[in-house]
Amino acid sequence: MSALLSALGAGFLFGIGLWVSGMANPKKVLGFLDITGDWDASLMFVMAGAVAVTLVGFRMYKTKIPVPTLKDIDFPLIAGSALFGIGWGIAGYCPGPAITSLSTLSAESIVFVIAMVAGGLLYRGKT
């Protein structure tokens, strides 16, 4: 199988996983992050299910893992992750769910993805 087709297939399976799990439902995501409100713990199980598979699978294909270029726990890691978390908590979308939600043509997902691409380019412009 060509590399492009396998990338397409992996993206497709990843996307189906997002829909099955509830990650593509921003209301559910916000319900998960809303620990002081009517907390819905479901999405903890998404991460648990996914990491259970990658822990085993990545060990099987250990030699294929690209060598990480960054190793330090530094300011950009912490500040960037904090900014990402704030945005995630506002709209309930992280990048994967936002992209697969574009298929619904909802105004909020279109606006979110355009802004997300712009935000990424803005960061690159600063470095």
Partner: protein, 140 residues
Amino acid sequence: MHDFTPVSALAGGALIGLASVWLLAANGRIAGVSGILHGIFSPPEAQWRAWFISGLLLAGLAWQAAGAPVPLREGFPLIWAAAAGLLVGFGTRMGGGCTSGHGVCGLGRMSARSLVAVIVFMAAGMISVFVVRHLLGVTS
């Protein structure tokens, strides 16, 4: 607690994990969606990334074509969607990953950097929901 759906969450999560192992095994790549998306704008290696993103989009179309439930949210203010998108795009590039790259894949390869990132973005997300939903009263 309402709408608790641990079984579909676990099953969907396992599919996400499988897709990530697949991309590593077949392409030697980490399934970090923010990095893959942004990499489309840097010519080398843009092509496989575009195909992965197309797969994500096709999954949404197939899901709807199959008649599966699509939870649409009405009336979420677009100005908040724009602000959130900017923060997610900027933050994931600065922090080098998102829920998939640091979460699913980073934790899977037991990276300390990724563990820190996951703790920070989960905590920031929870604080953000508290402020935006409960203090500012933005509907969602």
